[in-house]
């Protein structure tokens, strides 16, 4: 009975997702494919990040509001290890690690940052953890901004995309000519979705392993886990590291998608975007964030039309403001009326902690 119910919801979710993709074609008679590829690339990157957040919140019940800093850590470490240009003068660094190694170091750095943040935070109750993580993310952002000699500060990092784009397969170029989309973005999008599939396989294995069961047991009843002889604190820290590592990878992809990295990317609002996606997709659900992310980005990319209804000559600030207005409303309404989102299980939600 239960599995039947879930599969019905799954079908419903797939239908909704397909409809929202169809909506893009409906609303954009011209250049729909280009818009769709842009949207799916963002959806893949944010979806990956939301999967990481889900390991924190959905699996382990950790209230992490500093997700943007994990993404940022991954992105900055990776980019700085590869050939790039940074800072006010655009100082060029020509030597560096191969991209594969740089990305792995970046992911490891994000995971270590998760451990570092997790060590003090793990002992705290839910709402304190929220405050600590958001504060730590803000410290990270301020430091990145301030340590200009290392990170390029407000001037950011540029000229690093070639590290990834030189591996772009030829077929993307030829397809992009006939369908008119940006080949570099499509390549980032493909990598993002491949990463999602690999991550999901990994998580699926972990989820059904003894480790995954112990993790969920931590969420349900920490004392019971301790009584069974498991180290609950270490389990939580491992979860923190795993989720942060996944976020780090998505941060790297986000940087490649933007083409230049600025400190304004990893702001608290990025964290809230990812939260909205996770809640929409379903807290604790493995595949939920993917669908949540696609639907979310369709909403985001088509709201500009709505904004033009309210403001005749909407400027960039108004368009962005309108988008965030809807994100806030979405988070609020979902949490009030449907906290389990599209695919989450209500009984797995950890929301009534006192």
């Amino acid at each position: 009975m239960n599995s039947l119910l879930i599969s019905k919801r799954f079908i419903f979710t797939v239908v909704i997702t397909s409809l929202s993709i169809y909506l893009v074609f409906l609303l954009n008679p011209e250049g729909a494919l280009r818009i769709l590829i842009n949207l799916l690339t963002f959806a893949g990157i944010y979806g990956l990040s939301a999967i990481g957040l889900n390991v924190h919140f959905g699996w382990t019940g950790l209230l992490n509001f500093g997700h943007a800093s994990f993404m940022g850590m991954g992105a900055y470490v990776t980019l700085l290890l590869m050939p790039h240009a940074a800072g006010r003068e655009g100082e060029v660094t020509t030597t560096g690690l191969p991209i594969i190694i740089a990305v792995f170091v970046g992911i490891a750095a994000a995971a270590l940052f998760g451990l570092l943040l997790g060590l003090p935070a793990i002992r705290l109750r839910g709402d304190y953890l929220a405050i600590v993580t958001i504060a730590a993310a803000e410290i990270f952002r301020l430091l990145v901004r301030d340590l200009e000699s290392i990170t390029g500060g407000v001037y950011g990092i540029i000229s690093y995309t070639e590290n990834l784009q030189k591996f772009r397969p030829e077929f993307i170029n030829s397809l992009s000519l006939s369908y008119e989309f940006a080949p570099s973005q499509a390549w980032v999008g493909i990598i993002a979705w491949v990463s999602i599939i690999l991550t999901l396989f990994l998580l699926k294995r972990l989820n059904s392993s003894p480790w995954g069961r112990a993790l969920r047991a931590v969420r349900e009843d920490e004392d019971a886990v301790r009584a069974m002889g498991k180290n609950a604190v270490w389990l939580k820290l491992q979860s923190f590291m795993l989720g942060a590592g996944i976020a780090g990878l998505s941060g790297v992809l986000l940087a490649f998608n933007y083409g230049s990295l600025e400190t304004t990317v990893f702001v608290p609002l990025l964290t809230f975007y990812v939260w909205a996606i996770m809640i929409l997709g379903g807290v604790g659900s493995l595949t939920g964030p993917i669908f949540g992310s696609i639907i979310f980005w369709v909403i985001i990319s088509e709201t500009d039309r709505l904004a033009y209804i309210f403001f005749e000559n909407a400027n960039g600030q108004q368009l962005a403001g309108f988008r965030f207005l809807l994100v806030g409303l979405l988070i609020m309404l979902l949490m009030i009326f449907r906290p389990s989102g599209l695919l989450g299980k209500k009984e797995e939600l950890l929301l009534d902690v006192k």
């Binding site: 209230l63 304190y128 929220a130 430091l143 809230f272 108004q318 309108f322 988070i331 929301l351």
Partner: protein, 305 residues
């Protein structure tokens, strides 16, 4: 370093008033209100709307003209508006959530959504630009060993008076006692004949009025921005946590300490040329405090992990 002490006191009094408000609300309702900053901004924006000259047309999509009222009157009206807004939030949003037994974490996420929503309403419909209250410029003067303008000194004194008033109110009046009773146990206080719904409503109103006052202070000393509440929110959390969340006196002291620390840290030797990172110092201190003394300076030891 000492020349920053005056600025530190001013920032301290803003954070202090706002922290007391946040702490009061948390103490009674157990809500960590991320939308607190938006009520602060409402105080400033409402004052701007009431007090700006009638022909001043930057605000409100050029469609509404400001009212051009007397400045002191505008501040009082703005604080009242904030109180009404807080009461409205409780009545239409948070009371139904409480009755529906929605968990604390869910309510926390709701306040985050609310905060993003309201903040961008300000951006869209109130003010996208940095603005100032219609007040004449004043020269800084030296009082004891602080440098500040006469107006900012007035802000400081009003702030201290308000805090003393709040302290007396909480300690000695029937309402204050009822608030503390509801904080300790909603059920027990209901049994002893306290209408906890009313107490929570009054808490929301008074917390929001204090937040609005903090917003008026912030805008008088600095300026009005659509995201001013969010910019200061983390410092308010720091002040609240430092003093011990849920304790009003702790929040007063914690807020002052954080404000002074933030401004004075600009003068530290290793901070030279890194003024942007001054908030990081305060936030770092907050994390360290949580690590070693999670109940804060004045908080009681309860279960916090």
């Amino acid at each position: 370093m000492l020349d920053q002490l005056g600025n530190g006191l001013l920032l301290g009094i803003i954070i202090s008033v706002a922290s007391v408000a946040l702490s009061l609300l948390y103490g009674v309702t157990r809500i960590v209100n991320f939308a607190h900053g938006e009520i602060i901004a409402l105080g400033a924006i409402a004052t701007l709307f009431f007090s700006s000259p009638i022909d001043y047309r930057i605000l409100f999509l050029d469609k509404f003209s400001p009212l051009g009222l007397n400045f002191a009157l505008s501040c009082i009206l703005a604080v009242i508006v904030c109180g009404l807004f807080g009461g409205l939030l409780e009545l239409i949003l948070f009371r139904p959530l409480r009755k529906g037994n929605v968990g604390n974490i869910a309510v926390l996420v709701v306040t985050i959504g609310l905060s993003i929503f309201i903040r961008h309403l300000y951006l869209l419909f109130a003010t996208g630009k940095v603005q100032n209250f219609p007040l004449e410029l004043q020269r800084r003067q030296t009082y004891l060993f602080f440098d500040m303008t006469p107006r900012n000194l007035k802000v400081l004194i009003i702030g201290i008076l308000v805090m003393i008033l709040i302290g007396l109110l909480l300690t000695y009046t029937k309402l204050g006692k009822a608030m503390r009773a509801v904080r300790d146990s909603e059920e027990l206080s209901s049994v002893s004949g306290i209408n906890s719904d009313n107490i929570i409503l009054i808490t929301w109103i008074s917390s929001s009025m204090l937040a609005g006052l903090a917003g008026v202070f912030q805008a008088t000393i600095n300026d009005v921005r659509w995201n001013m509440g969010f910019l200061i929110l983390l410092l308010i959390f720091a002040g609240t946590v430092l003093g011990g969340i849920g304790t009003s006196f702790g929040a007063m002291v914690g807020g002052l300490i954080i404000g002074i620390l933030v401004q004075v840290s600009v003068g530290l030797p290793f901070m030279e040329g890194h003024t942007e990172a001054k908030n990081a110092v305060a936030l770092g201190i907050m994390i360290v405090i949580l690590l070693f003394r999670p109940q804060g300076i004045f908080g009681q030891k309860e279960r916090i992990s």
